[in-house]
């Protein structure tokens, strides 16, 4: 065996051009199915990792995938809103975390940063419980403690060069909607540690802050301040609304409606036990307004779609591997023909046909092993450079 390996190794090293060409052929053949396999595997694990932390997700009845992708990855179409009353109704089953997710924002750049990186980063309005659920910790600063404060995910902070003390601005959803609220200027009070998920590319605020962005909560000048007739409210047509929450105007923020009507996008439910979960599912079965999704089941459905693509890759791989195998057989036959003299010499000297076959086989095993090792390395490098959450964009836009 050692002699066979020695002769095969010497041959492929000496004929390195041939070896390199064969290796490239095999790498190109194997890299696509290997990449598809590993990426889908990782993609699935990554999707499931976040989904496993949540028992159920409540959302507006409609597309389950939108609810899942919006709640877990802050991607996809907006699934519609629920209200805080729905949250109250579900509190008995365990921990419930509201999420309000219609907004995006960006760094408020200074004049010196005109050409800086700009992107619409999702603004996540939630409770502090969300940070414990996702085990998110801070690398700088503190979590939001009052309205109008924000913490920024690690990647966003790095990409936009955001420091504690900088400001982020909510994006105006419709530039031509003159009745819409002005963008809210929010102070960054903390930068999160990376947790290699969608949380790295997000701006987190208290859910009440998102209601300010929405215009439901607002702060403005005291419209009764200058009147002498105490029981009559006299207001100017132009009321100045505060574009930023500060310690000075914090007390002026309020809303005119019922607290239970305040909007939320989804509710992350961490059920106390299996029984609570089952009862809640039963309660909302057939509800026309609210749907409860089981994230792992929806992911499995989502993956079955992706796995169909995977199956295509498998079929493609079989086709390609068959073609390449035939080419390899041709190469082996040509190689034997070219090396007839060498094999005759070895045979004359006493080398068995079994050993000759072993040498040829070993040469191809070595080339194959090198190729697979190279393909796998390339796939891992690719995965390292492009983490699975970026691949999600391929599916969610």
């Amino acid at each position: 065996m050692r002699s066979v390996l020695f002769l095969a190794y010497k041959y492929i090293v000496h004929n390195y051009t041939k070896t390199i060409i064969l290796t490239i052929c095999l790498v190109l053949t194997t890299i696509v199915p290997l990449a598809a396999y590993f990426i889908i595997e990782n993609y699935q694990n990554d999707l499931k990792k976040r989904a496993k932390q949540v028992t159920l997700i409540a959302g507006k009845r409609g597309n389950d995938y939108d609810i899942l992708l919006r709640s877990l990855y802050y991607k996809g179409s907006y699934p519609g809103s629920l209200s805080m009353k729905n949250l109250e109704d579900m509190k008995h089953v365990g921990k419930v975390i509201p999420m309000y997710l219609p907004f995006t924002g960006h760094k408020l750049y200074t004049n010196n940063e005109q050409n800086a990186y700009y992107d619409n980063i999702p603004i996540i309005g939630t409770h502090l419980d969300y940070f414990s659920l996702r085990k998110i910790s801070l690398q700088q600063g503190r979590l939001p403690s009052i309205l109008g404060e924000a913490v920024v995910g690690a990647s966003t902070a790095q990409d936009m060069n955001i420091q504690v003390g900088d400001f982020v601005l909510s994006d105006q959803k419709n530039l031509y909607d003159i009745s819409a609220s002005y963008p809210l200027k929010m102070k960054v009070v903390g930068i999160l540690r990376p947790n290699y998920s969608a949380d790295d590319n997000a701006i987190f605020v208290d859910i009440k802050t998102t209601w300010i962005i929405q215009g439901i909560f607002h702060g403005h000048d005291n419209i009764t301040k200058n009147t002498q007739q105490k029981n009559v409210v006299i207001s100017k047509a132009k009321i100045y609304e505060y574009p930023q929450v500060t310690l000075d105007n914090l007390d002026m923020f309020h809303h005119h409606g019922k607290a239970e009507e305040l909007p939320i996008t989804t509710i992350l439910i961490i059920a106390r036990d299996h029984k609570s979960k089952t009862i809640l599912l039963g309660d909302y079965q057939g509800n026309e307004n609210i749907t409860l999704i089981q994230p792992l089941k929806v992911i499995d459905r989502l993956m079955s779609l992706i796995l169909r693509v995977h199956a295509f890759f498998k079929a493609y791989f079989i086709l390609v591997i068959t073609t390449v195998s035939l080419f390899l057989v041709l190469i082996i036959m040509l190689s034997i023909r070219i090396r007839t003299q060498e094999f005759q010499t070895l045979s004359k000297m006493g080398c068995s046909y079994k050993m000759l076959r072993g040498i040829i086989l070993m040469e191809f095993i070595l080339v194959f092993v090198i190729s697979i090792a190279l393909s796998t390395t390339c796939v891992f490098i690719f995965q390292w450079l492009v983490p699975p959450q970026y691949l999600l964009q391929l599916f969610t836009g």
Binding site: F6, V13, T345, K348, G350
Partner: protein
């Protein structure tokens, strides 16, 4: 001693060789001459166990090699026969040292200290010590043949077969190669050489002419 009795070999109907009797003593140096295609190479191939006869007996050192299995024949060739070919037949992917040690590689044997001493001796004797790590394409024709001779002698075979070893060399290199062969092949080693060069024949104990009528001395 090598003994051939009533040997018959044929390649279909085109070529046949009949040998009633041929005896070669141990340590004898024998040259085979004859026209191209007359069967010289076939004859020595039969003696070396590379080819199997259709009939007859070949006895070498009291071993009836015509009764050997394929495996036994291969083992016999690897252990007891050294080959020197006209075209040197070195493996281009092995260096000089690895080519010389090839019989041990094919025998799955590790080179012992004695083997390495012998290797060192042969590298010096063949004046290729400074080329020990060179590949065949980096050697001259004469150097290649010296490597081939060292390869044929490294495992101290009882029979050395040389098939026109000087056929591809100029007269100066031919003489040098033959001098080395005569010097390094000891008295106990039987040396069988096929040649067309009649100037070399006077150095052999016997010259056998292979022709249509059979063997003539």
């Amino acid at each position: 001693m090598i003994s051939l009795q009533n040997l018959f070999f044929s390649y279909g109907s085109d070529f046949e060789i009949h040998i009633k009797q041929l005896t070669i003593a141990r340590g004898e140096k024998v040259a085979f001459v004859g026209e191209s295609g007359c069967g010289k190479t076939t004859l020595v191939s039969l003696i070396a166990g590379v080819l199997r006869s259709n009939a007859g007996q070949i006895t070498i050192a009291d071993q009836q090699i015509h009764n050997f299995s394929d495996k036994q024949l291969r083992q016999f060739r690897l252990r007891s026969v050294g080959f020197v070919f006209q075209n040197f037949e070195l493996l281009d992917y092995l260096n000089v040292t690895e080519n010389i040690l090839l019989p041990f590689t094919l025998l799955f044997k590790k080179a012992t200290p004695q083997t390495l001493d012998k290797l060192d001796y042969l590298l010096n004797a063949m004046s290729i010590k400074n080329k020990a790590t060179h590949k065949p394409h980096q050697l001259s024709q004469g150097e290649k043949q010296r490597v081939a001779i060292a390869r044929a002698l490294i495992h101290q075979p009882s029979i050395v077969i040389a098939d026109e070893p000087t056929g591809n060399l100029d007269p100066k290199n031919s003489k040098k190669i033959m001098d080395l062969l005569w010097k390094e092949i000891n008295e106990q080693t039987t040396f069988l050489m096929i040649t067309h060069d009649h100037s070399l024949l006077n150095q052999f104990d016997r010259v056998i002419h292979v022709g249509e009528k059979g063997l003539e001395e």
